[in-house]
């Protein structure tokens, strides 16, 4: 892959199309950060493909000055699979939402994650259907009142991180739309990961589900409501004077108060390690929900395993080495044949 000329900037990744999300939508911040990170990745612009499904988030490709494919509802991971399996040298990004990715497209997301193609999947989770004007989504809280659930939703919600871990994803992270620094860091990590990188981005819908993630978007409450996951560091959260830690015993997490001068490890606080082969630890983290627990933000799991397309290319190389490059005439004449004379 050739180096990107140093002159490329955020502007080079910005298309000429007017952005048409609602004012205040979390998507603006995500778009700006993705456009900021793109020139830093060292991938030529023509080798970048953004693929999306249907929904507010799925308009994303139109605003990126790269190759872009706005496909059909829920199926973006499948189109991306075809693209990446066909052309492993391309950098393929999937943009989806909680409805697109986890409801109509749940099956494809599941199977794409387990196949481990070297894709980046960004799932914008605002816990509501925006484009169809405000119905509850598969991640909406139980009891949420919407146009389609005037008495409150009776569906139990699905957690995207648990879903990805359950599907065997090799890289699973969570970040926040307005936390530019963290979001950029996670985008870099996702791109660097060889295999499917799944990133849940907590995103605000100011029209139909405003302030759903306010506690972690707002800097003043983030320390208390969020749990920063950092490799090799103990699971500690809370402001000075109100520090707490997460202890995990027999797979069950609990919150433990911590004095400011206490050594968290000595107090039995878990030390974060994203590289466990088993997803059990990451799963325990994924069960942490408000208000009992802080929301973990960061990389839950990052393990290496061969990607689907590398295994597929390996089979092609192996077949060519063993049988030689395919010869059509020889194929047509293979097996039992006979000749009828003139």
């Amino acid at each position: 892959m050739s180096e990107t000329p140093a002159t490329l900037t955020r502007k080079d990744f910005t298309s000429d199309q007017d952005v048409r999300w609602c004012p205040g939508c979390g998507d603006y911040s995500i778009l700006a950060n993705v456009q900021k990170v793109m020139p830093e990745l060292g991938v030529p612009r023509e080798n970048v493909v953004f693929v999306s499904g249907i929904g507010c988030s799925s308009r994303f490709p139109y605003y990126m000055n790269t190759y872009g494919f706005h496909t059909i509802h829920g199926r973006a991971p499948s189109f991306a699979t075809g693209i990446k399996a066909s052309r492993p040298e391309l950098s393929v990004w999937v943009v989806t939402g909680d409805g697109d990715g986890l409801s109509i497209g749940g099956n494809h997301l599941l199977h794409t994650l387990r196949r481990n193609l070297d894709l980046q999947i960004l799932l914008f989770n605002n816990r509501v259907y925006g484009l169809t004007k405000g119905q509850y989504s598969p991640t909406s809280r139980l009891g949420m009142k919407t146009k389609s659930t005037p008495q409150g939703s009776v569906d139990y919600p699905l957690d995207p991180v648990s879903f990805a871990l359950g599907a065997g994803a090799s890289f699973v992270a969570r970040t926040v739309d307005v936390d530019a620094k963290h979001l950029q860091e996670i985008l870099h990590r996702a791109h660097a990961h060889k295999g499917t990188a799944f990133v849940e981005i907590l995103q605000n819908c100011p029209v139909y589900n405003d302030d759903e993630w306010g506690e972690v978007e707002d800097k003043s409450t983030r320390l208390e409501a969020g749990l920063a996951l950092e490799q090799g560091k103990p699971l500690v959260f809370g402001a000075k004077g109100a520090r707490k830690g997460i202890r995990i015993e027999r797979g069950i997490p609990s919150v433990v108060p911590l004095r400011d001068d206490a050594d968290p490890e000595a107090a039995g606080i878990a030390v974060h390690d994203e590289s466990y082969e088993t997803p059990a630890y990451a799963f325990a983290l994924a069960t942490l929900v408000r208000p009992e627990f802080p929301i973990p933000i960061g990389v839950f799991r990052a393990v290496e395993k061969p990607s689907y397309e590398s295994l597929l290319e390996g089979q092609i190389d192996e077949a060519v080495a063993k049988r030689g490059r395919g010869d059509l005439q020889a194929l047509l004449r293979s097996g039992d044949i006979w000749t009828v004379g003139v």
Partner: protein
């Protein structure tokens, strides 16, 4: 060894029948391969239940394989077998009605015991009553087979499994087939006692037939006088898979198959999965939707995207196909049609998806549709589907069916350099000007294939309506109408780029034209040619292109006083012809999960041309 009589015949049809666990498909396939090597023309019809192992001895579990072979040119597996081999009473009961009067009935007499008779629904042994109507040959197959294997270390169950090869040995003697190809195949396929058992019973069956008084006569079917060339035996699914491989070679682009297992299309996936050394990528998806979506993704990325399915899967693919229509990407979708609606009869043939292919998507969604006529034609149809797809930047539907898929015929192997290539409509960067993804070739109206990885062609496409030329999202009323008409016009223009229909028969019109499409080619053509030989003014055409129709079709139709459209559905092409050309096309429908018999079409021809005493004649 007593000297037995040898007779020469020009054609024979044999049907092997038994339980679905009796190996009838294998027996038929081996007989077919040997017959192909003997230089006969042939046509086969495997007919089996969807259940892998239906309850033994029942009618539901009967599996059959018919082969018609000859020294003259034939096009169908024959209406009525001359010989019926029935390994149990259920097989007899399910197939006897088709056996030619005075035909030969070979049964495994050991299987005609109370239990089996009851399972088949017989109250008494049916064989005594049949001896006047057929030449009944009772062979104690189970006993003879066990006898031949008694010193081998096989359980009785294992020994019994080879009795189909005993029967095959008998048939090889009866029709002077060479044992060698099958013996070689056994040596390659099996080891140890199983190899020995199969070899031994094949030879034992042959020797038995030679020495027994049951067969006073054996038959020779001379080599067929067919076009010179090198031939092989081929089924529709194999030919279709090879056509896809050939398209990759001819268009110099790797093939990407997205597929989900479905009867009767799965064999195409199996076959293509073996050709990684051609760069063929096969992707077994989690469902039909993912299969087509991945294939469209591959096409977007510059490969030859293709998917293979059958009716229920084809329905699921329609939304993704409509996206391919909208973004104007090349794609071939193969529908190996089977009897429906819904799950229907998965292993049985029907032509019920024509209207679905044409109109199964939301809004005006024009898509070229072509259909293969014979097993060997599946190869060329695949090449034609890709030619249209890449030249016009469009998804193309290729219709096959459950009969073509599994049926076999001798196929003249083409020279690769004679195979068609196609113009690939590639986009090129416009220098400093912004790239216009919906700029069109003025002749074909195709937009350029703008493949990721090409600097300067970065662009966005999607299912939203496009502005003409720029491809930007547009809700402008007049633009939508223009784009809708452009999409239709692009497909309509292909009519000038496909061969005109050729009339088989009266070139200047006449009394009756029989119009067919797809896998009914053999039966229709045979019926029409036989009727012409008898002096009737009847002609036929067979449509490969169903959308658009060949440009001369209307003119040809209007040249005939009556138009008959035989179809394995309730009249779908007939409806299209009536709508498009305002001709009084008459439908001949059959929806039994079985192909047309020549006699059925002939009877209708007789009726229409006013022949007296229409009779179902033997082909």
């Amino acid at each position: 060894m007593s000297q037995k009589r040898v007779e020469e015949v020009d054609r024979v049809a044999i049907r092997f029948t038994g339980d679905s666990g009796d190996g009838m498909q294998l027996t038929g396939t081996k007989f077919t391969e040997t017959t192909a090597l003997a230089g006969n023309d042939l046509s086969t019809f495997p007919d089996f239940p969807a259940e892998i192992r239906a309850p033994a001895g029942t009618l539901a579990g009967v599996s059959g394989f018919q082969i018609h072979f000859s020294s003259v040119h034939i096009r169908t597996p024959a209406d009525q077998p001359d010989v019926l081999v029935a390994l149990n009473p259920a097989a007899l009961r399910a197939n006897l009605g088709d056996l030619r009067p005075k035909g030969m009935l070979i049964v495994n007499s050991d299987a005609f015991v109370d239990r089996n008779l009851k399972l088949a629904g017989y109250h008494a042994d049916p064989l005594p009553a049949l001896r006047d109507r057929y030449t009944v040959v009772d062979i104690p197959l189970t006993k003879l087979n066990r006898e031949a294997l008694k010193d081998l270390n096989l359980s009785q169950r294992e020994a019994d499994r080879s009795k189909n090869f005993f029967a095959l040995g008998v048939m090889y003697w009866l029709y002077h087939r060479d044992l060698k190809p099958t013996l070689e195949w056994i040596d390659q396929k099996f080891t140890g006692d199983v190899r020995e058992a199969n070899r031994r019973v094949l030879l034992a069956g042959h020797a038995f037939a030679e020495t027994t008084e049951l067969f006073p006569v054996s038959y020779i079917v001379p080599r067929a006088k067919i076009e010179p060339g090198t031939y092989r035996n081929i089924t529709g699914n194999q030919a279709l898979a090879w056509g896809i491989v050939a398209a990759g070679v001819q268009l110099q682009r790797p093939v990407f198959l997205g597929a989900y297992p479905i009867t009767p299309a799965s064999d195409i996936l199996h076959e293509l999965a073996r050709y990684r050394h051609f760069g063929v990528k096969t992707f077994q998806a989690e469902d039909e939707i993912a299969a087509v979506s991945a294939a469209v993704g591959a096409s977007y990325a510059g490969l030859l995207g293709v998917c293979t399915t059958s009716g229920p899967g084809f329905v699921l693919k329609q939304e993704a196909l409509n996206l391919a229509v909208m973004v104007e990407l090349p794609l071939v979708v193969v529908d190996v049609q089977r009897a429906g609606p819904s799950t229907g009869m998965p292993t049985k043939v029907e032509q019920g998806d024509l209207l679905l292919a044409l109109f199964g998507r939301n809004s005006d969604s024009p898509m070229p549709v072509i259909a293969a006529a014979t097993p060997g034609d599946c190869f060329y149809s695949a090449l034609e589907a890709f030619r249209l797809a890449v030249k016009y930047m469009t998804p193309v539907v290729l219709l096959s069916d459950g009969f073509l898929a599994n049926s076999a015929e001798p196929w003249r192997i083409p020279e690769v350099e004679t195979l068609p290539r196609a113009l690939v409509q590639v986009a090129t960067p416009a220098g400093d000007e912004p790239f216009q993804p919906y700029l069109r070739n003025p002749d074909t109206l195709a937009r350029g294939w703008a493949v990721p990885g090409t600097p300067g062609l970065e662009h966005r496409v999607g299912g939203l309506e496009k502005e003409e030329v720029t491809g930007n999202i547009s809700y402008a009323p007049s633009n939508h109408e223009r784009m809708t008409r452009l999409r239709a016009e692009k497909v309509a223009r292909m009519a000038q780029d496909i061969p005109p229909v050729e009339v088989n028969g009266s070139q200047r019109g006449g009394e009756l034209l029989v119009v067919g499409w797809g896998g009914t080619y053999g039966a229709i053509t045979s019926a029409v040619e036989e009727a012409r030989t008898e002096g009737f003014d009847v002609s036929s055409i067979h449509l490969r292109h169903l959308n658009p129709f060949p440009h001369n079709l209307g003119e040809v139709l209007r040249g005939f006083r009556r138009v008959l459209v035989p179809e394995l559905n309730l009249g779908q092409l007939a409806m299209l012809l009536r709508a498009e050309f305002l001709v009084d096309a008459e439908s001949l429908s059959k929806v039994q999960g079985q192909p047309f018999k020549v006699g059925e079409i002939k009877a209708k021809i007789y009726e229409l041309v006013g022949a007296r005493t229409p009779q179902v004649a033997r082909s």
